[in-house]
């Protein structure tokens, strides 16, 4: 296998090197890529969409259709991970372990027995001894709100600075993942239930596709945000800018939910226990 692999790699590499000779030099302002399509985007973006960040404008408006499917890819991956890994039915007798938070004692409950009455003092664990890291949990608890605030800023400020729905959504998702890593996954699941997560995931992409479909209902083409001008009471160009913001929010919600969903399923192999 190694020899075949090496052979294929050398052949492909040779083809690529051979073709690279004909490329325009790196960073050449007169190359076809820089002169054919992109000048239109750079020069017209402000007029046509009033969004200073050209990447955001092209991403969510000129090529908004690509981005919708990009979000759908993420959604599909989330559903696929859930479909593949989630264990909905447990087999065999189950024993549960609880830890008394004050004394660190672990109690074991056989299958069919009742849980301890006052759950506040007990937390559920999966192995007989799970280390507790007070410093890590406290610091993460302090950090998470700031991470989320930053994520919201990134989503909202995508028009003027680098960022947008996708990056912001990933950061939002990462904050919940951080909670799941630093505490355990049950704590994170209390904040973000599985059902809510699955619904948010579908809702986010639905916001995107729904905005596009709304434009259809107003008689313009799919994703032509200028149709939203009549309900937003602004002129068509500003409507495009607002439309971009709406779909960015949709992307953010979908991406956040999916990142958490994939992490939950992979890190617990679908059992939704304490995770890492």
């Amino acid at each position: 296998m190694k020899v075949i692999g090496l052979l294929i790699v050398i052949l492909t590499g040779a083809l690529l090197v051979y073709a690279t000779v004909d490329f325009p030099p790196w960073g050449d302002p007169t190359s076809p890529a820089s002169t054919h399509l992109s000048p239109h985007y750079i020069e017209k973006t402000m007029e046509e969409t009033s969004v200073p960040n050209i990447v955001t404008a092209v991403l969510a408006d000129y090529r908004g259709f690509d981005t919708m499917f990009e979000t759908t890819v993420i959604f599909g991956a989330g559903v696929a991970c859930f479909f593949l890994l989630r264990v909905l039915r447990r087999e065999g007798p189950e024993q549960r372990l609880y830890r008394h938070t004050l004394t660190d004692m672990t109690i074991r409950i056989k299958d069919g027995s009742k849980m301890p009455a006052d759950l506040d003092e007990f937390e559920r664990i999966d192995t007989l001894w799970t280390p507790r890291d007070l410093i890590v949990t406290t610091i993460c608890r302090l950090l998470i709100p700031f991470i989320q605030l930053f994520a919201l800023y990134v989503i909202a400020h995508g028009h003027h600075s680098p960022g947008g729905g996708f990056q912001g959504g990933v950061i939002l998702g990462a904050s919940i993942i951080l909670l799941a890593i630093s505490h355990d996954m049950r704590t994170a699941l209390k904040r973000m239930r599985e059902k809510l997560n699955g619904l948010l995931c579908a809702t986010g992409v639905f916001i995107y596709a729904g905005t596009g479909a709304l434009c259809l209902l107003f008689g313009l083409n799919f994703l032509d945000y200028s149709a939203l001008a009549s309900i937003l009471h602004v002129d068509p160009v500003t409507a495009r800018s607002h439309g971009i913001l709406i779909v960015e929010i949709g992307v953010g919600v979908a991406v956040m939910a999916t990142m958490i969903w994939i992490y939950n399923n992979v890190s617990s192999s679908g059992k939704y226990d304490e995770g890492l």
Binding site: L15, A19, F23, T35, H40, D61, G198, L199, N221
Partner: protein, 496 residues
């Protein structure tokens, strides 16, 4: 509303996928009706689009209202109008047929299954309808990712087979993306028509040549042309039956469509057939694919796996036909996309019915099935005759066009390979007929868990199967119309 059809075609299944996903959390019984409704609308839309194309010619739809080279545009012409209809109809029929087997195989996960199913159909339709090279990549990834999910929920060995598919599929898709990048760096455009307009001045460029080769290799990986086929048999065999009867008829065929689209629209026949000296080697590669597919199929003692090797041989037919470089062979290749999708659907639905009732698909499981499941096996006979290429069924006509194209091109190797593989198919299918007709039904191979005797499959599985079987004959009878009214206009005048 009909001017919005190209958008609706993709949007309706897409939005319904989110609704199904939400319904999966709220009320699981809603999933199936939503999916059927969405795919019915899609099928209706695609037929409507095909009719409009027949009347008015090419339809261009601007997404977001931006003019084509800057925004993304959908182009519907005769070629993809036909393929769209096939994809939508096959997906709808298979969905109705496999409701029972889905409920049997994943009682708790029907929601995600239907979500992935509808998303995959969205991806396939989008691949066919789009006119933007990069948009095609994104949709290709949707179709493949959902496909991985669907396949991996099959039998015990399915996850490993799927993981291999993931590696190969990702290399394939990335190669396609790289090829698009090479085209972008020399033309500066991503729109297929726009690229085709700029390319003639660059036919001598090494980058264009490399782009062409890389794109083709990527697509061959995705469609499992012979030396790159290793992922296909296991992945399709171990997939759940509802998934394999969606993916086996459509995925490889849509990839062949993309290849033909690249040859005809982006690179144009002039570059692909005249400027490059790769025509003959590729046809020989297809010849090897056909022969090897047939030989591997002969070695199998397992119905589903045997069929997967037949798919590999059929891919060889279409690649060879597309690369013979004349009108008759190209007609044969395009017609074969339609026919092969229907034939593969027919035989895989039969396998689905057998798995539903017998819980197995090895040759021993087939004993005496003609008496137990007469309608299913009757449909299997029609599907088999069509794959062999017996006249009233459609398989004969596409083979006829392919062979006459091979004679016209003077490529007798391809002709011999076609005849050889038809002969092998005769042997393969008559062996199956013999086992399932003459050998008595035996219940001693460890299927004690089903107590009731094996009977015909339920009506909801039989009716779609019968429609497909009838469709095979009907498409065969109306082949002349399909060729004269649709395919003839799909091939540019330049190709003679």
């Amino acid at each position: 509303m009909s001017e919005q059809y190209p958008a609706l075609l993709v949007i309706v299944p897409l939005i319904s996928a989110f609704l199904i996903s939400a319904a999966g959390w709220v009320n699981r019984r809603l999933c199936f009706p939503i999916a059927v409704a969405a795919l019915s609308v899609t099928a209706y839309t695609s037929v409507g689009l095909l009719m409009r194309v027949l009347d008015e010619g090419v339809i261009i739809y601007r997404l977001g209202g931006w003019p084509p080279p800057w925004g993304i545009a959908y182009y519907v012409d005769h070629l993809n109008g036909l393929v769209l209809t096939v994809v939508a109809v096959v997906a709808l029929l298979n969905l109705i047929a496999s409701q029972k087997s889905i409920a049997q195989e994943f009682p708790e996960k029907t929601g995600p299954f239907y979500t992935l199913y509808v998303l995959m159909v969205t991806g396939l339709l989008g691949i066919v309808v789009t006119g933007d090279a990069f948009n095609l990549y994104v949709l290709l990834e949707i179709a493949s990712l959902t496909g991985y999910g669907l396949i991996a929920m099959g039998e015990e060995r399915a996850p490993l087979a799927t993981l291999n598919y993931v590696y190969m599929g990702t290399i394939g898709a990335c190669f396609y993306l790289l090829g698009v990048g090479y085209l972008y760096i020399v033309t500066g455009s991503l729109n297929m028509v726009d690229i085709a307009g700029i390319l003639p001045a660059l036919y001598q460029s090494k980058a264009v040549l490399a782009a062409f080769i890389i794109c083709m290799v990527g697509l061959w990986l995705k469609m499992a042309l012979f030396p790159l086929h290793a992922w296909l048999p296991n992945a399709y065999t171990f997939a759940p039956s509802a998934a394999s009867s969606l993916i086996a008829p459509l995925m490889t065929k849509v990839m062949v469509y993309v290849m033909i689209r690249l040859i005809l629209t982006v690179f144009t026949p002039k570059f692909a057939f005249a400027s490059l000296a790769v025509k003959d080697p590729i046809v020989w590669l297809a010849v090897i694919a056909i022969v090897m597919g047939a030989i591997f199929a002969l070695a199998e003692r397992n119905l589903k796996k045997m069929l997967t090797y037949i798919i590999i041989a059929e891919v060889g037919y279409m690649v060879g036909g597309a690369w013979l470089g004349n009108r008759a062979a190209m007609t044969g290749a395009i017609l074969h996309i339609v026919n092969d999708a229907l034939m593969t659907l027919c035989v895989f639905l039969v396998v689905g019915n057998i798995v539903y009732k017998v819980k197995g698909y090895a040759f021993e499981d087939l004993k005496g099935l003609f008496r137990k499941m007469p309608f299913t096996m009757g449909a299997f006979v029609i599907g088999a005759l069509s794959i062999i290429g017996v006249p009233p069924t459609c398989g004969f006509f596409s083979k006829w066009y392919l062979i006459s194209g091979a004679i016209q091109a003077g490529h007798y190797g391809f002709m011999v390979a076609l005849l050889f593989s038809s002969l092998v198919n005769v042997v393969l299918f008559f062996r199956v007929f013999e086992i399932s007709y003459y050998e008595p039904f035996s219940d001693h191979h460890g299927h004690e868990h089903h107590s009731q005797p094996i009977a015909e499959a339920p009506l909801s599985m039989l009716v779609p199967l019968m429609i497909v079987a009838a469709g095979l004959v009907l498409v065969g009878i109306y082949t002349g119309d399909i060729v004269n009214q649709i395919i003839q206009f799909a091939i540019p005048e330049a190709l003679t």
